[in-house]
């Protein structure tokens, strides 16, 4: 199946959150990267039909998803970035509720809910009220509810937010096993999460997809722009103020190795290194936060 956005635009008043976006997605895991406010959540909301585009459209196999209605949502799973829950529901109760909304019959709902609770590591807490859950536990419950209907299109907005390293690994494995013959789109700020599981990266900026491709393909765009150099530790502060630094590592001899993103060698003796996704991210979003 093929999910495609055509001239997709969403405006909030004068603010354009998604701007004439065109992309076609087929089976695979897609990582959506972008700075805060780039439009990731808005794009995902449009994909999930919880918001209508201002103009443009999204088609599944050539049919408008709004026209498909129930038939589209039947194959859709969505983890919102921020989602509400019913504080007095138990984890299992909540899943059963969502399962009913997704049209699962009772028996199947129970079976799938319990299986998913196990897969996200909540089987021991299935009868606890959601209001007693930690942030990460709620997040995992959110992931479970998105997968209840075994969706062909799974959209996860910052699924790893709030997960501890162990749970992040569990999540990656879950998604890797799940993603065969499906479309999985996930956004995150934790670039390493995407590096491991995403087959393709969509990099968003100002409501547009500025890069789209396999991780090594899109990092090749900044080949020659990532450097490593060794500087005295005492002067690191000076460098961080003026350079775009993606990483620094203290050595024992009173020196620090900087990983710098720059078009020109930052200091004499800097060596070019292979760019990774984090470098790419910083290359494009340097200074976004200060704006």
């Amino acid at each position: 199946m093929e999910l495609s956005a055509v001239n997709l635009t969403k405006r909030y008043g004068s603010k354009t959150a998604v701007n004439r976006l065109n992309v076609t997605l087929t089976n695979g895991v897609y990582g959506l990267l972008g700075a805060n406010g780039a439009g990731k959540t808005t794009f995902m909301r449009l994909l999930c039909t919880v918001q209508r585009p201002t103009s443009g459209k999204i088609d599944l196999d050539g049919k408008n998803i709004w026209k498909l209605g129930e038939r589209y949502r039947d194959v859709l799973g969505y983890l919102p970035q921020h989602f509400g829950y019913y504080p007095d529901f138990t984890a299992l109760g909540f899943l059963l509720y969502v399962a009913a909304l997704k049209g699962l019959d009772d028996r199947k709902a129970k079976k799938v809910s319990n299986k998913l609770l196990e897969e996200v590591g909540l089987s021991g807490e299935s009868r606890r009220k959601i209001k007693t859950f930690s942030g990460g536990m709620k997040q995992r419950l959110g992931i479970a509810q998105a997968m209840l209907n075994d969706p062909y299109i799974l959209i996860l907005d910052e699924p790893t937010a709030g997960l501890d390293p162990k749970e992040r690994v569990r999540f990656r494995n879950l998604i890797s096993a799940y993603s065969k013959d499906r479309i999985v789109i996930l956004s995150t700020h934790i670039v390493s999460d995407i590096e491991f599981i995403a087959e393709k990266i969509m990099m968003m900026k100002d409501g547009e997809i500025i890069h789209f491709g396999r991780p090594h393909e899109i990092t090749s765009g900044i080949d020659g722009c990532v450097w490593e150099c060794s500087v005295p530790t005492s002067r690191v502060e000076q460098y961080t103020a003026s350079l775009n630094i993606s990483n620094l590592r203290n050595e024992e001899n009173g020196r620090t190795v900087l990983r710098v993103i720059a078009d020109q060698p930052p200091v004499a003796g800097a060596v070019k290194v292979q760019p990774n996704l984090e470098d790419l991210f910083l290359y494009y979003f340097k200074g976004e936060d200060e704006q």
């Binding site: 039909t49 919880v50 209605g69 969505y78 969502v98 909304l101 049209g103 209907n149």
Partner: protein
């Protein structure tokens, strides 16, 4: 679909606020019924007097002596036997209260000193045949129920207001992206909302009527409301219907009132962004008719009185006009309520189905 309705119902009833308010409603009913019963006073003029259970027994015994159709002979008999004469303790006879029958007959057929005022039954009631008996228990129950039902309609608003807008604080993301979110779920919410309102109303009605049965027994259901003690005259309904008919009307109007107010509340629940606004808006619209400067005599009042708050406050609506026999104008409350609930259901469903998260 059944499953979805059931889940929505559970959601409504699992709210602490719902449970608490329902408990308060029932407690209030019990307190009001009990204190009314406790405060009853009667004496038979022959040395027996008492309150509470004794009063009810005395009232019933006195009523039993004259029960049946009210005739001029009965009036004379009652004036001779149970209407006190003034002078004994300085009060004019008309101000003396002994029991419900004495009060009813004094108010209509005696002068200030307790003598016959010259009126005949036909002067007061035309050719209606008025069945008299022990009506006090049912009439005071009806009066209590009016206050309770008015208070209870605010509880209904509280219960229904979050049905849609309770989801707008985040769960809407999940609901609206699920298969049935914009379709069956919205329908289930409407149906569950109506059912919850009807179920709670039925419970309150049942509790009140059962308590009345326990306190006063079933006597008087077939007696006219027109021959009641003085306190029920004002605001009374000027038609010769029985207590039973009165209670049937009150119950039907409680249900139509509930349906109407549910319609209004569903509408605001879907249209407002948060529960507080939905609540305030629903209460305002619901209570607005009471503030309208429409005189009871004006033609417009006949329309205003069909709004749900007057279903709970049912005496005004019941007093509008008699169509034929026991068919009163109040019956128009049924279509009025149906229109409101239809509008509320259709509108709220459409708004929720078209809702966008923010």
């Amino acid at each position: 679909m059944k499953k979805l309705i059931w889940l929505e119902l559970r959601k409504i009833f699992s709210k602490r606020l719902t449970q608490f308010a329902l408990a308060v409603g029932l407690l209030l009913s019990a307190l009001l019924a009990f204190s009314t019963w406790q405060n009853k006073y009667a004496s038979d003029g022959a040395g027996n007097e008492g309150t509470g259970r004794t009063a009810v027994e005395i009232d019933k015994a006195v009523a039993a002596r004259y029960s049946g159709i009210l005739t001029d002979e009965k009036v004379q008999q009652m004036i001779a036997e149970i209407v006190p004469e003034s002078g004994e303790n300085g009060l004019n006879a008309i101000y003396l209260y002994q029991n419900t029958i004495q009060s009813a007959v004094s108010a209509r057929f005696s002068d200030i000193n307790g003598n016959w005022n010259g009126l005949r039954v036909s002067d007061l009631f035309g050719d209606e045949s008025i069945k008299i008996g022990y009506v006090d228990g049912w009439l005071s129950t009806s009066r209590n129920m009016t206050s309770i039902l008015v208070a209870f309609s605010f509880f209904i608003i509280m219960m229904i207001a979050p049905v849609f807008c309770g989801e707008y604080s985040g769960v809407d993301n999940i609901i609206l992206s699920s298969k049935y979110g914009r379709t069956k779920c919205a329908e289930a919410k409407v149906i569950a909302g109506i059912m919850a309102a009807l179920i709670t109303t039925a419970i309150v009605l049942a509790v009140n009527l059962l308590m009345a049965l326990a306190f006063y027994g079933s006597e008087g259901l077939d007696c006219s409301i027109l021959f009641a003690q003085l306190t029920y005259i004002e605001g009374g309904i000027p038609f010769n219907i029985t207590c039973g008919t009165l209670l049937v009307y009150q119950s039907v109007l409680a249900v139509t009132g509930t349906i109407g107010v549910t319609g209004i509340t569903l509408l605001f629940s879907a249209a407002c962004k948060n529960q507080m606004i939905a609540l305030v808006a629903s209460v305002a619209v619901y209570a607005l008719p009471l503030l309208l400067p429409v005189a009871e005599t004006s033609a417009l009042f006949r329309l205003v009185v069909l709004l749900p708050i007057y279903h709970a406050q049912f005496v005004s609506l019941m007093s509008v006009a008699q169509m034929s026999g026991i068919l009163l104008y109040a019956i128009w409350a049924v279509p009025a309520a149906l229109i409101l609930i239809a509008a509320g259901s259709i509108f709220s469903r459409r708004v929720f189905a078209g809702h966008q998260v923010s």
